[in-house]
């Protein structure tokens, strides 16, 4: 029991402590609630004060928007959005990226174009166009006369410079070396222009003649097809050294028998005295000057004449006569 009592006494003490604390808390709470109430009252006052101002502001804003609407700002904005839509739809991300890369160039160009000098020039150009329209059409002669004018000459120089630049750009910008752009800015611009539009390399068509011109020349053995079609000379003449055309290399190897053999081979048949007149003259001329006589020399020198030569040796008289005569082929055009 004592224990219980003790316990009870303890409990009462505890309870008292709790109540005391609670009372204190409640008082603090009441203080705070009072504060809040006051604050709320103040807030209400503030709201009461702000309210009319806010209304004024709203009314003003609405009025402003209304006047803006009237003035067409919103329509403008809507249209602008439409334009932006089209821009987004019409350009890919890559295009925009490229634009970003070239923006310096674009800005440079815009700045250059908007320099006062350029703007004055543009205005004056407009005036000049009007003046030109008043003047009427002009022929080539008038143009030539006008080219004596100093201003026209200067203008032509400028035009040529512009045309040159256009040509250079169209060519993919390879400066001719004579007039390489000096300023680094222009080189940068030029580089961008060249890289933005890669040029297709020109197709290299083989020249139709290239093959035949560059082809190795046929070997000496293949040169004279006519020789190959002939029957070989009888022994012992077949073993005599000759060039590709069958002319004796050593003219002292020649004999009348050899002449008969060759004449047989080329289809002239039996050699007559007239034939030998020509052959002997040819051999003498060769021994004399070291050069084989041409057809004209054979005709006049031997005394048989051109007609005689062609009568005795109908086909290829020059090569045929000299071959039968055991001397080299004549060189020359007559």
């Amino acid at each position: 029991m004592t224990t219980n009592y003790t316990t009870d006494g303890q409990q009462t003490a505890d309870l008292t402590a709790v109540l005391t604390t609670l009372t204190q808390e409640v008082q603090a709470l009441r203080t705070e609630v009072g504060e809040l109430r006051r604050a709320k009252a103040k807030g209400a006052e503030l709201f009461d004060e702000i309210g009319p101002i806010g209304k004024e502001v709203m009314a003003g804003a609405m009025e402003t928007f209304g006047s803006l609407e009237k003035k067409g700002y919103f329509n403008f904005g809507r249209e602008l959005m439409g334009v932006l839509d089209q821009v987004v739809a019409g350009y890919t991300a890559d295009d925009v990226k490229e634009l970003g890369e070239n923006v310096v160039t674009i800005l440079d160009t815009v700045r250059a174009v908007t320099q006062p000098g350029m703007l004055v020039f543009a205005r004056q150009a407009g005036e000049a166009v009007e003046a030109g329209e008043k003047q009427g059409p002009v022929g080539v002669w008038e143009m030539m006369k006008a080219s004596k004018d100093d201003d026209v000459q200067h203008g032509m120089a400028v035009m040529l410079s512009v045309v040159r630049q256009i040509g250079r750009t169209a060519r993919g910008h390879k400066p001719s070396g004579r007039e390489a752009p000096k300023h680094p800015k222009y080189q940068r611009m030029a580089g961008r222009l060249a890289s933005s539009r890669p040029r297709r390399p020109a197709r290299q068509l083989p020249h139709p003649d290239a093959v035949s011109v560059n082809a190795p020349k046929p070997s000496a053995a293949a040169v004279n097809v006519a020789m190959a079609s002939l029957a070989p000379l009888p022994a012992p003449f077949d073993s005599l050294p000759t060039d590709a055309n069958g002319h004796l290399l050593v003219s002292s190897d020649w004999s009348e028998a050899y002449a008969h053999a060759v004449a047989d081979q080329v289809g002239i048949g039996a050699l007559t005295e007239a034939h030998f007149t020509v052959l002997k003259f040819a051999r003498a001329a060769h021994a004399d000057g070291g050069k084989s006589p041409n057809v004209r020399a054979l005709a006049t020198g031997s005394g048989v004449g051109t007609k005689g030569i062609y009568g005795l040796f109908p086909t290829k008289p020059g090569p045929t006569i000299t071959r039968i005569a055991g001397i080299p082929k004549p060189i020359g055009c007559i």
């Binding site: 006519a226 079609s229 002939l230 080329v266 289809g267 057809v295 004209r296 020399a297 005709a299 004449g305 051109t306 007609k307 030569i309 062609y310 109908p314 086909t315 290829k316 008289p317 020059g318 055009c333 007559i334």
Partner: protein, 154 residues
């Protein structure tokens, strides 16, 4: 070794330097055993006209390879002088003159023809031409005889 190759050479100009290449070509063809026909028309006709063949001139006016300025070449007598100079150079090289060349060609078996239209135009008859001329023919005849041949226009 007979060949059936054939060339037909049309000579349409009468300058010494314009006639010679054709004559050399023709002569070369004969020397190589190639059949050859020469067809002289328009001013080329002068080369086979009896009283003109020995006085063929060289036209140096407007010739960019002329050693003398064109403005001087237009003076009287300059053409004759140029022709004489060229002819003497050719003689040095043992080149026969035009008349001789034609005779050589005739003897070598080349056939020489005049153009009927040009003859009528210049008012010439067959008697005005050199004896080496075989006949006066029309363009149709020329094509008939040049069948299968190579045609060279000078």
């Amino acid at each position: 070794m007979a060949t059936n190759r054939k060339v037909c050479i049309i000579v349409s100009h009468g300058g010494l330097d314009e006639v010679y290449p054709a004559l050399i070509l023709a002569n070369g063809a004969r020397m190589e055993g190639i059949d050859c026909v020469l067809f002289f028309t328009f001013y080329g006709l002068d080369a086979i006209t009896e009283d003109k063949v020995d006085s063929l001139h060289v036209n140096m006016v407007g010739n960019p390879t002329s050693p003398v300025p064109t403005i001087l070449m237009g003076l009287p007598g300059m053409e004759t002088m140029a022709a004489k100079m060229m002819q003497s150079k050719m003689t040095d090289l043992d080149l026969p003159n035009a008349r001789e060349m034609l005779e050589i060609l005739h003897e070598a078996g080349a056939e020489i023809y005049g153009c009927l239209l040009a003859m009528d135009m210049f008012g010439r008859t067959k008697d005005d031409l050199m004896p080496v001329v075989k006949d006066v023919i029309t363009v149709g005849d020329f094509y008939d005889m040049s069948e299968g041949a190579q045609i060279i226009f000078t």
